[in-house]
């Protein structure tokens, strides 16, 4: 049972990784002059949209958290709207945190905001898909030993990895190497993306290694 679940998780995560790789490669065929470094903002948009779409589709297909009760259409709509608001808020919060970390307040707002959208896609969007706009569930999942399924464990790992990646991505900025990828926010968004990809790959493997020790208590 658990192995099957882990295999599904692995497939889903590999799809996401694949989507990230495609965003870096495919637009080059349609758009003359597209490079991840040169037209970084465009890549940020494309990557956010693609990863977001893939996540939503995967969620709809796999339904990792099958809720027992059927909800009405109006309820679904309100949930969807709530999700949108949460996502937007998370973008704003990430933007604020990045500015607090020292990003310019007025200059390069677009860069900062698109980076925060990317971060939100890697973290908040997944959570919204998995947990819905439910603050209690969020707090539960992100406290110690709070996960109740392998999907939630995977969620924990990828989220933490993305944020850690973005954190580490800021390291090369002060170096005086004058490389194109040191320009704000390229190194950070690369860090976040690599972190996300690493998280996606690590999560199933880690779960597989620790499958004996893992015990999820039911709610």
């Amino acid at each position: 049972m658990k192995e099957v679940e882990i295999r599904r998780l692995l497939a889903a995560n590999l799809l996401c990784v694949f989507a990230v790789i495609l965003t870096a490669v495919v637009p080059g065929f349609f758009w003359e002059g597209f490079t991840v470094l040169g037209t970084h903002l465009a890549w940020l948009c494309i990557c956010s949209v693609c990863v977001g779409t893939v996540n939503v589709i995967l969620h709809l297909v796999l339904k990792p958290n099958h809720s027992p009760k059927r909800s009405s259409f109006a309820h679904k709509i309100s949930r969807f709207l709530k999700c949108c608001i949460y996502f937007f808020m998370s973008c704003i919060i990430f933007h604020a945190i990045i500015v607090l970390y020292g990003a310019p307040l007025i200059g390069s707002v677009t860069e900062t905001f698109l980076f925060s959208v990317l971060l939100s896609t890697f973290t908040t969007l997944q959570c919204l898909c998995m947990l819905g706009p439910n603050t209690h569930a969020w707090i539960r999942v992100f406290s110690k030993n709070g996960a109740t399924s392998i999907w939630e464990s995977s969620l924990q790992i990828t989220t933490v990895c993305s944020i850690l990646g973005a954190w580490f991505g800021a390291f090369p900025i002060p170096l005086d190497w004058d490389r194109p990828w040191q320009v704000w926010p390229i190194s950070c968004s690369f860090g976040a993306t690599f972190g996300y990809v690493a998280g996606l790959i690590i999560a199933p493997l880690w779960l597989y290694w620790n499958r004996k020790q893992l015990t999820y208590k039911s709610r």
Binding site: L100, Y101, G102, S143, W167, P174, D176
Partner: protein, 914 residues
Amino acid sequence: MRLRSGVFASSCLLVEVLGVALFLRGFFPVPVRSLPRREARGDPPAEPAPPGPGMVSNWTKIPPPLFKKVVVVLIDALRDDFVFGSKGEQFMPYTKQVIEKGTSYSFIAEAKPPTVTMPRIKALMTGSIPGFIDVIVNLNSPALLDDNLIWQAKTAGKRIIFYGDDTWVKLFPKHFVEYDGTTSFFVSDFTEVDDNVTRHLDRVFKREDWDLLILHYLGLDHIGHVTGPNSPLVGAKLREMDNILKKIHISLLSKEEASLPNLLVVCGDHGMSETGSHGGSSAGEVHTPLLFISSAFEKRSDPGYEHFKIAEKSHANWIKLYLEGNNSEILLNLGKKVLKQYLEALKTLSSSLSRQVAQYDMYSMMVGTVIIMEVLLLLFLSIPKALSSRAEFEVPLSLPLFSLLFYLVCLMLCAVHVIVCTSAESLCYFCSMSWFTAVGVMMLISALMCGILSAIAKIFENSRLPVKNPVVSSSGWSEIDVLILAGTVGHVLSLGASSFVEEEHQTWYFLINTLCLVLCQDLCRNNFLLKEYDPQHSTNVKQNFGEASEYKNMDIPAADNSKLGKTISSAEFIRGSDKWISLASPWIILICCRLLRSLNQTGVQWAHRPDFGHWLTSSEHKSELSFLAAVSLLMIFFLVQRRCSLVSKIAMALGLLGVYSYRAAIGNVIFPWQHDSKDISKGITEARFVYVFVLGIVFTGTKDLLKSQVISSDSSVKSTGLWEVYSGLVLLAALLFRPHNLPVLVFCLLIQTMMTKYIWRPLKFDAAQITIMHYWFGQAFFYFQGNSNGIATVDVSAGFVGLESYVEIPAIFFTAFATYAGPVLWAIHLLCYLSSEVSRNSAAVGHGCFCYALMRSLPVAVYIVLVTGLRYHLFIWSVFSPKLLYEGVHVFITATICLFFTAMDHNHSHKVQD
């Protein structure tokens, strides 16, 4: 001997200060350059002394000459490629050989247009750039009246002989003891003009009655004008010039005696264009060779130079292949090889350059490093004991084995000392110390070594016993612990990169931001999750308390939970409004930090960015600055006064008023009622008025501290006393800080208050964690003040506040305090906080002191090792050594603070024993 961890840490730091001082003394040796070079540097400024009778040179004595005889050979229209290029190789073999192998310095000189003979001669002799007006008077040249080399040489009693273009004779009519001018009017004359010069040479070189010989050859210029630079006549002329140079050089060498060498200068006044004319500013016209040939220039055997030559050759091959249209693998490989050779050559050149500039006293540096590393090791080994709940440990001073080893090591070091000092050819500070001191230092080193060995032995002994000592697993580490460890290690490692040293403030800002976010997460968990948290976690936390690790693992929520589980629920524990303030406080702190960050841009890369500090200090924003300063002073008063006694409160208020009036007196800020800018004074009275209150407050505080030690056992007296000392320092900082930096002080107090009230107290961190957080914030505030790791940002004006003139000791003290105000204030606040926490953990102050010492010695020790390794780095003088000075001073200040800590701790333990 039993020592408490505070005492131990302070003594370690004191020893470390000694080590750092020794290292610095070795790193910055007093005679940086050897003697003759300094003379060479001192010489040039002597010459352009003003010639007018009204002006008097401030050089009282003439510097000794470097050369006995000087011959200047000026070849008109000598283009740079005639010497350095293919033509030079072909036609001037002797010169080329001297350039490559001999003792010479060669340059390509750039002539400023107009590239016409007369203005160029003027430029060469006066060092000024000619104007175009000189072209007009080129043919009819009046005597040169500006200060010039010839005039200086003549007044210095040098005898000058000139042969060549008669422009010189017109420019310097009475300067030459002997001359033979040649008119340059007949351009078609290629040989006569030069023969007219050369014919004198044999005779002149037999004589001894001259010091400076100037030869101006015109033939090349004439050939250029008539036939252009590519005519065969040019080659013949160049060969003739080469022969003349050879003759002059050889005869100069043969005349050379032991006393002083001779100098041969070869130069061109301008080049020639591709058509052979001159006057404009094309590359061929402005670039001329400039050679200094003398046996005084030591033979160049630089490996980098040789490498460069080899690389040049392969480069030429590559270009040849490329021009032949060869696109094969060979070209690619050769290109790679050329690139590699160039890079290697550059590396060797840069390292040999820094080797020439830097001479280190390695022996003193090594001794210093050894002391510092031993201290660090000792501190590391004693972590478990020092942070235990007793906070004291046995220091073995008289073990039997100990003594034998000690003497052996001592003996060995003495032997090494004798060998090094007798064989050292350069100056060595440690060798020049008296024997008594040197032996003392060596005994210290061996004692430290024995201490380390015995500590290691003890650890092994302990680990062999099957103790209950539970090794703390990493899963027990909270996020804070992980962050603190990673941050400390990361910062220390980052010191190896010059960019990270330049931009160290970024590292600290990044770390404290992350710290705030982690604290926020901790607070969230503490506030929201206490009820749901299952208590299985808090099993052995209590037993572990205070053991075995620098970052003792109090699992905070668990600890809270086990305590709270019995009686009260979390909701009652933190009341509603407090809870929200507590949750918001990390964010407020983050916003404060962000504001401070944009107050002073510092570092190197982004230092030019506009910041609030510059905006405020510009003269048109004086009223804004005044308002900000007034509000800041008011805020400082409100934040400080709450824990002071009444007398200090009044003193504080008056003192802060005094600060404002001081700033108004020296014209930084204005009073609202005073619109016309009145005369600016030095503000001596106002500043001294403030000093009186500073001393008063500190004195009251000290009195309270003494009282708490001697008479009463009331800890509140002690904490009031400490706080008063602290507020006295705050007042001093407010006086010394520039007015636009007063918000730094406000935010410092604000953050400390919020942290204490809403974060540290509720979350119940242990002393080590609190200390490290204080240290981080202190470092960040060091940079918030506008400091950087460059010397230029030290605010020396702080040393003159309230002083009529420069008085050394107060000036140094004030400057040091103003520079390190951030770290010092945070450290004293740490002491205040920890001594108020004594009821919870009696050893808190000792732990704090130990951690503080450790946090300081770790970066210093690593940095010193890094700097020793990087001593031939290109940026060693611009980046690494200023940072080294900062670190050294910081260690000294930390040692002082730790002594203060120890004094406070001592009082306390004394009282407990009573």
